[in-house]
C-alpha cells in the first residue's frame, strides 16, 4: 500500500508547509485524459515540479453545467479518446506511485460517480491515492449522497462557497466540509469573468470568521498577477481554465498533443507560482 498517512492529513500537511513558508498555496486543475491519458498524466506529474502545491484532476462529464467553454471542450476531448472513471483512477494511482506528498483532488459531477457506485468509488478512489473530492452538483441538501459516505471513508469532501452563500447559509455549507473551503470568486461559470479582487478579499475574510479551514479561491484567475492579487487574502489560489487554454493552444488540428504541450502548461504554472510566492504572508501558527 502506498498510503502512509490518512487522506485529509496530506492536505493539512501541505497547507502547513505553505503557511510555514509564509505564502498561499497554488492549486491547479487539469482534465484527466485531455488530450490523451498519457499526456494528461505527464502534465499532472509536472505540476508539483513547476510549483503547484495541490493538484485537482477533472473527471470528464458530457454535461458540465457549471463549466465554461474551455473545460467543456477539455472534457469532450478526453471522452473522445475513451477516458472514463476507471482510467482516471488508474492515472492517479500511477501519479501517487511517484509522489506521496502532493494532495490529489478529484473534481467533477455526480453522475459518473453515482453510476460507478458510491461505495465502490470511494474505496477505489482512496486506494488510488485520492485525498479529496469536489462535486459541483452536490449542495449540502444532498449530503447523504456522497459527502457523508466520503467523510466516513476518510476522503475530504471539499465544498464550494459562492457569492450567493450568505451568512445565514454559510454554516450549512461549512458543516461536513473537510480539507479546505473553495470560494468561487464570481457568480458564473469557470473560465469566464475575472473577479473584483477587493470583493474577493472581503468574502474570504467573511468565510474565515466561520471556519478554521483554509480558504482557497478559484474561477477567473488567469495570470501570475491575478494569482498574486488573490494570494493577498486567501490561503490558496486555484487555476484551471487558463491552464487548459494554454494546453489547447498547442494541440494540432486533430486535438493531439504536440512537442510543446506539456511545457506550455508548466510555463504558466511557473508564472502563477511566482505570483503566489511574491506575496509574503504572516506565518501563522
Amino acid at each position: 500500500m502506498l498510503k502512509t498517512q490518512p487522506m485529509t492529513q496530506r492536505i493539512e500537511a501541505r497547507f502547513q508547509k505553505c503557511r510555514a513558508e509564509g505564502r498561499a498555496a497554488l492549486v491547479t486543475y487539469v482534465m484527466a485524459g485531455d488530450p490523451d491519458p498519457e499526456t494528461s498524466l505527464a502534465i499532472l506529474k509536472s505540476l508539483p515540479k513547476a510549483g503547484a502545491d495541490i493538484v485537482e484532476f477533472g473527471l470528464p462529464f458530457t454535461d458540465p453545467m457549471a463549466d465554461g467553454p474551455a473545460i467543456q471542450a477539455a472534457g469532450l476531448r478526453a471522452l473522445k479518446v475513451g477516458q472514463d472513471t476507471v482510467k482516471t483512477l488508474d492515472l492517479i494511482r500511477r501519479f501517487r506511485a511517484e509522489d506521496q506528498d502532493t494532495p490529489v483532488i478529484l473534481m467533477g459531477y455526480f453522475n459518473p460517480i453515482y453510476v460507478y457506485g458510491v461505495d465502490r468509488f470511494l474505496n477505489d478512489a482512496k486506494d488510488a491515492g485520492v485525498d479529496g473530492l469536489i462535486v459541483v452538483d452536490l449542495p449540502p441538501e444532498e449530503d447523504d449522497e456522497l459527502c457523508l459516505p466520503a467523510l466516513k471513508a476518510g476522503l475530504a469532501f471539499i465544498r464550494l462557497a459562492t457569492p450567493t452563500t450568505d451568512d445565514k447559509r454559510l454554516p450549512a455549507v461549512l458543516t461536513n466540509t473537510a480539507g479546505f473551503v473553495y470560494y468561487v470568486s464570481i457568480t458564473g461559470i469557470t473560465g469566464a469573468a475575472t473577479p473584483d479582487f477587493g470583493k474577493v478579499a472581503t468574502a474570504v475574510e467573511r468565510i474565515k470568521r466561520h471556519t478554521p479551514l483554509p480558504v482557497v479561491v478559484g474561477f477567473g484567475v488567469k495570470s501570475g498577477a491575478h494569482a498574486a492579487a488573490v494570494a493577498q487574502g486567501a490561503d490558496g489560489v486555484v487555476v484551471g481554465s487558463a491552464l487548459i487554454d494554454a494546453l489547447k493552444g498547442t494541440l494540432d488540428a486533430e486535438d493531439r498533443a504536440t512537442a510543446g504541450s506539456i511545457e506550455a502548461v508548466t510555463k504558466l504554472v511557473k508564472e502563477l507560482s511566482e505570483g503566489v510566492r511574491s506575496v509574503a504572508k504572516r506565518a501563522a501558527a
Partner: protein, 406 residues
C-alpha cells in the same frame, strides 16, 4: 411489475426535499441553491394566495383560451373500430401547445418575485414560443436557449420567437439539442443569478420545478374529468399522452392517479427503434443524476449522457421527469414507446380523418392509440392528449415523406 408497497395515494409527492421515492432532489451548484430555495418559498406563498389563482384564472380564460375542448374523435373511433376516442385539444391553446399553461404560472410568479429577466430552454420551440409570448405580454426581457440542431429543424418557431421580441441563442456545445440548451440555460442562471428567473419547460430540474410545473399543467386533467363527466356521465377508462420530459402527460395523468380503474399510458419516443438510436429513457435507460434531479437517463456504462434521437425535437431528451420515473417503478403508469415511423403514420391518419394536424410529439401518443383502441370494447372511453399542433413540423414531415412544400 412493482415489488414496492403501494401508497394510499399517488398524489401526495414530492416530500419536503423534493423526492418522489428515490427520484427528484436538488442536484445543483451552490450558487443556485439560494435561488432555488427562494423560488420554493415564493411558489409556496403564491399557491396559498387567492389573488395568484385569480390572475391564473383570468389569463387562462382570456389569453390562453381555456378550457380547451374535449372532442369526440368520431371518424378515428370508427376507423379503429374499438374504444371511443376523445381528444383533449391542448393544441388549440394560444401559441399552439400545452406549454403555455406552465409558462403563464411561472411568469406570474416571476412578476411576484420582481424578476425582470427571463431565461428558458427549448427543444421543438413550443416552450420557447410560449415564454417569448408571455414575456412580450408582461414586458419582460426574454432569452431562449435552443440547440443549434433544433434551431435548424424548427425554423418557424425560431422566427416566431424573434417576432415576439425574444433573443434566441443557438447552443453549439455538446450534442447541440435540448439537453445542451438546458446546460446553457443553467450556465446563464448561475451567472445572472440575482435578476434572472429560469422558466423551465417541463417537469424536470431541481425541486420545486417538477412539482410546480406539474401543478400548472394539472388543469389539463382537471378539465378532462369535468368534461368527460358532462359528456359521458363517468370517468374515462384510459388516458394516453406522449412523454419527453413529461409535462403534458403528468398534467393529464395526475388528477386521475388515484382512480385505480383508469388505465394510464405514457408514450416515449422510440426513434429508430429501442435497439437503435432513441429517446425512451424509461424503456432504455437507468437511474442517474442530471439537470438537478435523479431520474431515468440514457447513458453509457461510465455515466456519460447518451445522444437521444427522435424525429420530434420536443421528445429528443435523454431524461424524463422524476415523478414519471417513480410512477414507472410503482407500476401505476404503463410506459410504452412509438417509433419515428409510427408517429409519421399516425400524423397522417389523424390529419386525414379528423382534419387536425397534430404535432409530431402527440403523434407518438396517437400511434399507440391506433394500437390500443382496436383491442378495447366500444364502450371503453379513451382520452389522448393532443398536446400541440403540427404546423411547426410541416417542413420536417415533408422532408421525411419526400414531398416538396413550395
Amino acid at each position: 411489475m412493482s415489488a414496492q408497497a403501494q401508497p394510499n395515494s399517488y398524489r401526495t409527492g414530492p416530500d419536503e426535499r423534493g423526492h418522489f421515492g428515490q427520484f427528484g432532489g436538488r442536484f445543483v451548484a451552490e450558487t443556485l441553491m439560494p435561488n432555488i430555495l427562494e423560488l420554493e418559498k415564493a411558489y409556496e406563498e403564491a399557491r396559498n394566495d387567492p389573488s395568484f389563482h385569480a390572475d391564473m384564472a383570468y389569463f387562462s380564460t382570456h389569453y390562453i383560451g381555456r378550457p380547451s375542448p374535449l372532442y369526440f374523435a368520431e371518424r378515428m373511433t370508427e376507423h379503429l373500430g374499438g374504444a371511443k376516442i376523445y381528444f383533449k385539444r391542448e393544441e388549440l391553446n394560444h401559441t399552439g401547445a400545452h406549454k403555455v399553461n406552465n409558462v403563464l404560472g411561472q411568469i406570474l410568479l416571476a412578476r411576484r418575485m420582481g424578476k425582470k429577466r427571463i431565461i428558458a430552454e427549448t427543444g421543438a420551440g413550443q416552450h420557447g414560443v410560449a415564454t417569448a409570448t408571455l414575456c412580450a405580454r408582461f414586458g419582460l426581457e426574454c432569452i431562449v436557449y435552443m440547440g443549434a440542431v433544433d434551431v435548424e429543424r424548427q425554423k418557424p418557431n425560431v422566427f416566431r420567437m424573434n417576432m415576439l421580441g425574444a433573443k434566441v441563442v443557438p447552443v453549439q456545445s455538446g450534442t447541440r439539442t435540448l439537453k445542451d440548451a438546458m446546460n446553457e440555460a443553467l450556465r446563464d442562471w448561475v451567472t445572472n443569478v440575482a435578476d434572472t428567473f429560469y422558466c423551465i419547460g417541463t417537469v424536470a430540474g431541481p425541486h420545486p420545478y417538477p412539482a410546480m410545473v406539474r401543478d400548472f399543467q394539472c388543469v389539463i386533467g382537471q378539465e378532462t374529468r369535468e368534461q368527460m363527466m358532462q359528456a359521458e356521465g363517468r370517468l374515462p377508462d384510459s388516458l394516453v399522452a406522449c412523454i419527453g420530459g413529461g409535462s403534458n402527460a403528468i398534467g393529464l395523468f395526475h388528477p386521475f392517479l388515484d382512480d385505480k380503474d383508469v388505465e394510464i399510458y405514457g408514450v416515449e419516443a422510440a426513434g429508430h427503434g429501442l435497439s437503435n438510436l432513441h429517446a425512451a429513457s424509461l424503456s432504455g435507460g437507468r437511474p442517474g443524476v442530471l439537470h438537478g434531479n435523479r431520474t431515468y437517463l440514457l447513458m453509457n456504462q461510465d455515466g456519460q449522457i447518451a445522444d437521444a434521437h427522435s424525429i420530434s425535437a420536443g421528445l429528443d431528451y435523454p431524461g424524463i421527469g422524476p415523478e414519471h420515473a417513480w410512477l414507472h417503478e410503482m407500476g401505476r403508469v404503463q410506459y410504452i414507446s412509438a417509433t419515428d415511423d409510427e408517429a409519421l403514420d399516425a400524423f397522417q391518419l389523424c390529419s386525414r380523418l379528423e382534419g387536425i394536424l397534430p404535432a409530431l410529439e402527440p403523434a407518438h401518443a396517437l400511434a399507440k392509440v391506433i394500437e390500443l383502441a382496436p383491442k378495447k370494447p366500444k364502450d371503453h372511453l379513451m382520452v389522448v392528449n393532443i398536446s400541440g399542433r403540427g404546423d411547426k413540423d410541416l417542413f420536417q414531415i415533408a422532408e421525411h415523406l419526400q414531398e416538396k412544400i413550395v
